[in-house]
């Protein structure tokens, strides 16, 4: 394509990206380097339905001038990034100095909100992503080998988990694993423990969140692989059969290499999606057991006092995390491109 026509082709989407992705990110970064003005607190008498008492409030007149002069708040540099609710540099240092052995260090790190969140986020990402790829591939192979008449309905049912709104899908599973739900009761029966409750146990809650993650995302991998399977060269497959390759060998040496670029694509998308895990934690009310970076942002913004700077700092850290996660795949893609 000529450079000029390429330019006109991408201009609309480039503008949209600039407007809706680039500028908001800049604004978030700027926000994360600022904190609120020092609040001028005054003691006042507060009277409500139930009587009067001494209380404190913000002196708005005193703060108004400060706000007027610097609407963004005071510049704090990396202070928000380094405080206890984020990278917790001081706490990590003192833990490093005082703890005996890795085990104790690890458990004390997981007591810090950022590391607790990233611990679950990374575990979720690295367990769910491969499982989604494997399960999606298996479903695609199975559906592809079904008779033509069955394929339509099979595809429809396989895609259902992806069509259901994540929050709703997670709620359905949440009720099913309740101690009185169908899965919960079955688990109690299988384990022989009438008090077993998935929602009360941290390991089981983690497993349930990951099961949900795989359930929800497998259809995506399936549909991509299924499309890819339609392009496998029948000649190559037939040649393999003539050479005496059984079904497994055909998949191993013909289908999988053919689908490898798709796997890169799915891995990229899934790494990004899973790193942002959020909905199931809300639906499962799992925040006592598992938190993620996205959940921390939501929690900062959802309280009665909004913590914008804190949420902004966590957002920037999430973006950095995604960039680090994707870098091996991106580097590989770049090399492939360069070779051509």
């Amino acid at each position: 394509m000529k450079h000029k026509s390429f330019f006109w082709f991408v201009l609309p989407s480039a503008l949209a990206m600039l407007l809706f992705i680039f500028f908001p990110i800049i604004s978030v970064i700027v926000q994360s380097f600022h904190v609120d003005h020092e609040q001028v607190i005054q003691t006042v008498e507060t009277c409500d339905l139930f009587g009067c008492k001494e209380s404190t409030t913000i002196d708005q007149e005193a703060t108004a001038a400060l706000r007027e002069a610097k609407p963004l708040g005071q510049f704090a540099g990396f202070a928000t990034y380094l405080d206890r609710n984020h990278l917790a540099v001081d706490e990590v240092k003192s833990t490093w100095g005082s703890s005996n052995g890795w085990r104790e260090f690890g458990s004390q790190m997981l007591n810090l909100p950022f590391y607790k969140a990233i611990g679950f986020t990374l575990t979720f990402t690295f367990i769910v992503t491969p499982l989604v790829i494997i399960l999606g591939f298996v479903i695609a192979i199975a559906v592809n080998s079904a008779t033509k008449a069955l394929r339509g309905p099979l595809i429809f049912f396989s895609l259902l988990p992806m069509m259901i709104t994540p929050l709703v899908g997670a709620l359905i599973l949440f009720w099913m694993v309740d101690a009185r739900g169908i899965i919960g009761t079955t688990l109690q029966y299988l384990a022989g423990d009438p008090d077993l409750s998935v929602k009360a146990s941290t390991p089981l809650m983690w497993i349930m969140l990951m099961v949900y993650g795989v359930w929800h995302a497998a259809p995506f991998a399936f549909i991509v692989y299924y499309a890819g399977l339609q392009t496998v060269s029948q000649d190559t497959l037939e040649a393999a059969r003539v050479d005496g390759a059984n079904r497994w060998l055909q998949i191993r040496h013909v289908v999988i290499p053919h689908l490898l670029p798709l796997t890169t694509f799915i891995a990229l998308m899934q790494l990004m999606d899973n790193f942002r895990v959020f909905e199931p934690i809300v639906s499962f009310a799992a925040n006592a057991h598992a938190t993620s970076l996205s959940w921390s942002i939501y929690n900062d913004l959802g309280g009665e006092t909004r913590q914008l700077s804190s949420a902004a700092a966590t957002s920037v850290l999430t973006i950095i995390g995604v960039a680090i996660l994707l870098s091996p795949v991106l580097v590989r893609t770049w090399r492939d491109f360069d070779r051509k």
Binding site: V44, P113, N299
Partner: protein, 408 residues
């Protein structure tokens, strides 16, 4: 005879018609607020005003949108319906106006006690009260032969007897969902033990003390008698547990008692025996382990004086005695003249007469509430000590308070 009735009916209609029409405004009103029946009644009452547009956006997510919706100039919302915890967020951002002038001009009929004053300025007008109190199963307590518990210690004893009698494995309920609910239960219990959240007059937190540990230990003792999923149960879920006949005693919001005692969602044996009691005390204290709440309305700062006057008049009308009728009477503990309490409201009145403290209206209380909600579950799960959980909550609060400029 028929004609007489018809004439009477139309006369009545005319009368109510004139009663409603006496709210004349000249400006536009836009209300944002929480979504439950009492708030709908208020919004509908305000919408009866004529002369300007009155619209409302009632949603459970109102706290996520009201500040942003009032920061613009002109503000999207001319009035936010809030509670004593959330009025602080609006005052912190300086988005609501003092109502002194408007009260003088249009609010002569509003009883003084409904006016919420902060530093001598009227900032909100309250219209209903709320508190968490005991809800219990009369029949079950009779069966095991104990009196209605007055303290949390008695709740534990009764719970043990109910369990021993095989009536229910998990007889105690509570909104212990990690997050806001769990923090609220701690605030109740800590208040009951006589704890103070901050060093007097400052934003420095002080909860890692004897009372804090005692409050957590009592909460943990109660959870031994709760459904193991308690960290996922909000007030809806634990209410459902009571309606299902599993929970026999719990601390519950006055505004939700009506749902428990009506015929929907439970068998007769259950709903006819659910009774509202006074709030519980703990640790030998006399102040209940509960907090008093009010709901009220505010007027936005960034709107024209015309719209502000219209909003004030419409909201005053929406919370005037005119809104009370057979249907709306039982929706809340109205702080409106002409309100006659029903048995379902006994708990809230008991809470007021027992001197329950109101939820603190401090600029930084919301940050502490969030920090508590995030950090106390680790203790209840047995992952760390009470002192460690409280220290974590304090540290999380301190970091957040620095970001918000409350601490250096």
């Amino acid at each position: 005879m028929f004609l007489k009735h018809a004439a009477l009916a139309s006369a009545m209609a005319l009368m109510t018609g004139t009663a409603l029409a006496d709210c004349q405004i000249s400006g536009n009103v836009s209300i944002v607020g929480n979504e439950f029946p009492a708030i709908h009644t208020v919004a509908n009452g305000a919408a009866e005003c004529t002369g300007g547009e009155v619209k409302s956006n009632l949603t459970a997510d109102h706290q996520k949108i009201n500040v942003a919706g009032m920061q613009g100039n002109p503000a999207e919302y001319s009035s936010a319906i809030i509670a004593n915890s959330s009025v602080v967020a609006l005052m912190n951002e300086d988005v609501i106006r003092s109502l002194d002038d408007l009260v003088a001009e249009y609010g002569q009929d509003i009883p003084k006690k409904q006016l919420i004053t902060i530093g001598g300025k009227v900032m909100a007008v309250a219209f209903m009260a709320n508190a968490q109190t005991l809800a219990y199963r009369k029949d079950v307590l009779e069966e095991i032969g104990v009196d209605v518990p007055k303290t949390y210690e008695e709740v534990l004893e009764a719970a043990e007897k109910i369990r021993a009698a095989g009536l229910s494995e998990y007889p105690v309920g509570g909104a212990y969902k990690a997050g806001w609910n769990l923090a609220e239960e701690f605030v109740n219990m800590y208040t009951g033990f006589g704890g103070e959240f901050f060093k007097a007059g400052s934003a420095e937190v002080a909860i890692n003390n004897e009372q804090g540990v005692a409050a957590l230990n009592m909460m943990k003792a109660l959870t031994e008698y709760m459904n193991p999923d308690y960290l996922t149960h909000d007030s809806n879920a634990t209410g459902a547990e009571m309606e299902a006949g599993n929970v026999m005693m719990m601390n519950m919001w006055g505004s939700r008692m009506g749902n428990l005692m009506d015929e929907e969602g439970a068998e007769e044996q259950v709903y006819s025996n659910i009774t509202v009691g006074a709030p519980l005390t703990v640790g030998g204290g006399s102040i209940p382990a509960s907090t008093l709440w009010w709901d009220g309305w505010t007027v936005a700062k960034n709107i024209s004086d015309e719209d502000a006057a219209a909003t004030f008049q419409a909201m005053a009308h929406g919370t005037s005695p005119a809104i009370l009728n057979d249907e709306t009477m039982s929706q809340a503990v109205w702080m409106i003249e002409g309100y006659t309490p029903a048995p379902v409201n006994d708990g809230v009145f008991a809470a007021i007469s027992m001197g329950t403290k109101s939820y603190p209206m401090l600029p930084y209380q919301g940050l502490l509430h969030t920090a508590l909600g995030d950090n106390l579950a680790d203790f209840l799960l047995g992952k760390e000590s009470a002192e460690q959980a409280l220290a974590d909550a304090e540290a999380a609060y301190t970091a957040a308070a620095k970001e918000k400029g409350f601490l250096k």
